[in-house]
Subunit: 376 residues, 2 copies
C-alpha cells in the first residue's frame, strides 16, 4: 500500500498545511506596529481559550519552560510544595522543584491511575504554598480530576496555589481556569494548538499575581511578572519565536472557525471511539482514567512492543509512541490530540489491527474501525 507518513505521537502533533504556510512567509520585525497588533489579537483569543480575564504570557521555550516560569515566578525560597507524580511529567515537576531548592513533598500515584482527593488530603498539612499537577499526564495517558481537586483545595486550603500543567489539555478539553479557580495554567504549542514546539503559554489568577510580587526565587528569562507586563503592551520581554507566532494566528483561527465546543466534542468523541476500538483489538487500556489527549494500552505480553511499533511505522507510515521508563516495550500510546479527524484514528486502529493479526493475534479489526463510523 502507498505509505503516507503520519504522526500519532502526543507531541509533536500534525501541523495543518495552512499553519505551515503561514510560518513560511517572510519574517516580520517583532517590535513593529503590525506585529504588536497581531499580538494584541492573539492575546484576546488566548484569554478566551484559557477561560480567563487575565493575560496569557507567551514564552519562547518548550512547555517545560512554562512549568519553570510558573514555579519560579509564583513561589518563595522558603515555600513547601506538593507535587502529584503519576508519570514522567509529574516526576519532572518534582525534579524542577528540587532544582530550585524548594521543600518538595510528592504524592506518588501508580502509573495509569488518577490521583484521588483522599491521596492529596493525606499528604497536605496546610503548610503547602502550591500544589503542582498535570491535567493530562501523557506518559501514561491519564487524566487527573482537576476540577474536583480545585474545588476541594479552594475549600480546604484556600491559600495553596494550584499550578496545573495543562500542556496536553488546553485546546483539547474545556479548562476554564477562572471558573475552576486554577492559579497557574500552562500549555505548549506542539499539542492541541497544532504548531511546532517552541512556544509555552502561562496564565495566572489574581491570587497568583499577588504571590508573584512576593516571589524571591531567582529568575530572568522565565520571569512571568515581566512577561505579563509586556504582553499588556502587546510585546514580549525577549525576542519571541516569531514564525511560531505567525502559525499561532492560523491555528487559533482554525479552532475558532471549528468552534471551541466542537473542538472539545471532537477530541472526546475520537478518544472514546479509540478506547473502545483498542479493546476490540484485544488490548487492555493502560489507564483507569484515560485522557482525551492520548490513549495508552497494554500490548500482548509476548509481543516485542518496540519491534511491533517499528513494524507499523515501516509498513504503514504511522508513528505511534511506545511506553516510557517502566512501560517501555509494554504499551502503545496512540495520540489523538490536535489536528486529527475520526478518519485518522480509524486508520491507525486498522493498522494496529492488521499487524496484530499478522503477529498471530485475533483482533476484531472490523468492529474496531466501526467505532469511528458514527463520528463520520
Amino acid at each position: 500500500m502507498l505509505k503516507k507518513a503520519m504522526l500519532f505521537t502526543p507531541g509533536p502533533t500534525p501541523i495543518p498545511d495552512r499553519v505551515l504556510r503561514a510560518m513560511a512567509t517572510p519574517i516580520p520585525y517583532h517590535r513593529a506596529e503590525d506585529f504588536k497588533k497581531l499580538l494584541g489579537e492573539l492575546r484576546v483569543q488566548l484569554k478566551s481559550l484559557f477561560g480567563t480575564k487575565n493575560e496569557v504570557a507567551i514564552l519562547s521555550s518548550s512547555g517545560t519552560g512554562g512549568m519553570e516560569a510558573a514555579l519560579t515566578s509564583l513561589l518563595r525560597k522558603s515555600d513547601r510544595v506538593l507535587v502529584v507524580d503519576g508519570g514522567k511529567f509529574g516526576a519532572r515537576f518534582a525534579k524542577m522543584s528540587h532544582a530550585f531548592g524548594l521543600s518538595t513533598d510528592v504524592v506518588k500515584v501508580e502509573w495509569g491511575s488518577a490521583v484521588t482527593i483522599a491521596q492529596i488530603e493525606k499528604a497536605m498539612n496546610g503548610g503547602h504554598a502550591a500544589l503542582c499537577i498535570q491535567m493530562s499526564e501523557t506518559s501514561t495517558g491519564t487524566q487527573h480530576p482537576i476540577r474536583e481537586i480545585a474545588q476541594w483545595l479552594k475549600k480546604n486550603h484556600p491559600k495553596c496555589l494550584l499550578i496545573v500543567d495543562a500542556i496536553t489539555a488546553v485546546g483539547a478539553m474545556h479548562v476554564p481556569m477562572d471558573e475552576w479557580q486554577i492559579d497557574a495554567l500552562i500549555s505548549g504549542s506542539q499539542k492541541a494548538l497544532m504548531l511546532p514546539p517552541g512556544l509555552a503559554f502561562v496564565a495566572v489568577s489574581d491570587h497568583a499575581k499577588a504571590a508573584m510580587k512576593l516571589s524571591d526565587l531567582p529568575k530572568f528569562y522565565f520571569d512571568l511578572q515581566k512577561e505579563l507586563q509586556q504582553i499588556e503592551q502587546n510585546q514580549t520581554a525577549f525576542t519571541p519565536a516569531i514564525s511560531l507566532i505567525l502559525g499561532l494566528k492560523e491555528s487559533l483561527a482554525m479552532l475558532s472557525e471549528e468552534g471551541l465546543e466542537n473542538v472539545y466534542k471532537r477530541h472526546l468523541g475520537i478518544a472514546e471511539a479509540t478506547r473502545k476500538a483498542l479493546q476490540h483489538l484485544g488490548l487492555k487500556l493502560a489507564s483507569s482514567s484515560p485522557s482525551v489527549a492520548c490513549t495508552a494500552a497494554y500490548l500482548p505480553e509476548k509481543l516485542d512492543g518496540k519491534a511491533f511499533l517499528k513494524k507499523i511505522r515501516e509498513q504503514h507510515g504511522f508513528l505511534i509512541a511506545g511506553g516510557q521508563d517502566d512501560w517501555e516495550g509494554r504499551v502503545l500510546r496512540l495520540s489523538h490530540l490536535g489536528y486529527y479527524s475520526a478518519f485518522d484514528l480509524m486508520n491507525a486502529v486498522a493498522a494496529i489491527g492488521a499487524e496484530l493479526r499478522r503477529a498471530g493475534h485475533s483482533p476484531n479489526t472490523s468492529k474496531a474501525t466501526e467505532e469511528f463510523l458514527s463520528l463520520i
Copy 2:
C-alpha cells in the same frame, strides 16, 4: 516605485526561501532515529562554526536564554562576576547576574565605544570568577576586541571564565573559541544563521566544564550540563523547536556551500562599504569600533529620527532600526548580518540618501552607492 518589504533590523534578519520551505515541511518526531541522525550531522557543523572540539548545546529559547544557561550553569552562588556594559545587551548581562544573586561588578563603557583592556584591568582584582561581555553589542553597533581581551585575561587571570555573548557575531565573523580560549560562546538563530528566533546555541571550554560540575546556582530548563550530555546522544533534554532545527539544516548547508571564509569576507566587505557609504550621505558613524553585524550612524540633528525611518519604511519597504534608550530618535542602525548581498545594502543606502535629500539635506548618494560596486 514598486515596494518590496525588506528587513534591515539586527535580528530578526531575512530568511532564505530555502530555509522557509524546509521549515514548512511536515514535522518529524524528535525522538525518532531520523531526527537523531539529523542532530548528529548538525552537531558536527556547529562545532566547526564555533571553532571547538566540544559540543554545542541547542536550546529552544531566544538568545537571552543562552546567556542565562551559560551564567547559571558555570557559576556558583558565591561567585563575583565582572560585566562589560557598553549598551543594552551588556546591561542585560548585568541585570541577569543580579537576578541570580551573583555579586556583580560592572565596567561601564560609553555607548559607541569598545571596552579597553585598561578599563577591564582597572576593574579586575583577581576575585572575579567570570568576565561577561558581548562580541558585538548590537544596540550601539560596536565590536569589543574579544581576541585581545581573551589573550590578556588568560595571561593575567587564568582562572577567570570568559563568557562571550556572540549572538550577533557567530556566523558573521571568525570566532574560533578554542583557539582564542573563550570559555562560553553563545549564539542565537535569528542572526547570521538566517533563521527565525527561537534557538540559542552555547558551547563551553574544558575549563568551563570543570566549573559546571561545581555550579550550585538553581537551574532546570537551562541546565547546560544536562543539555551537553543529551547532545552527545544526538538529543535535547526537552522537546526542541523542531521546525527551526529543520531550517538550521538548510542554513548551515548554505553557509557551508558559500564557505565560511567567504561568508566572513562578505560580511566584512559589506560592513566596510556601508560605513563609507553612510559617511558619503553626510552621516557620522556612531561607533568608534564598528561591528560587522550592524552599522549605527547619527542622523542629522534637526531630523526627527523616528519619523525619518518610518518614511523610509513606508516609501521603500525597508525596515531600518532606530536607536534604543539614550539613542532613541538620534541614530539609525542598518543591519548587514545574515542573508544580505552587497546589492541589498546598496539599495538601503540609496533609500536613505533619497529621503535625506527630500528632507533638505545634501547626501552624495551616487558616491555612497558606488562603494558597493567593487563588491559586485
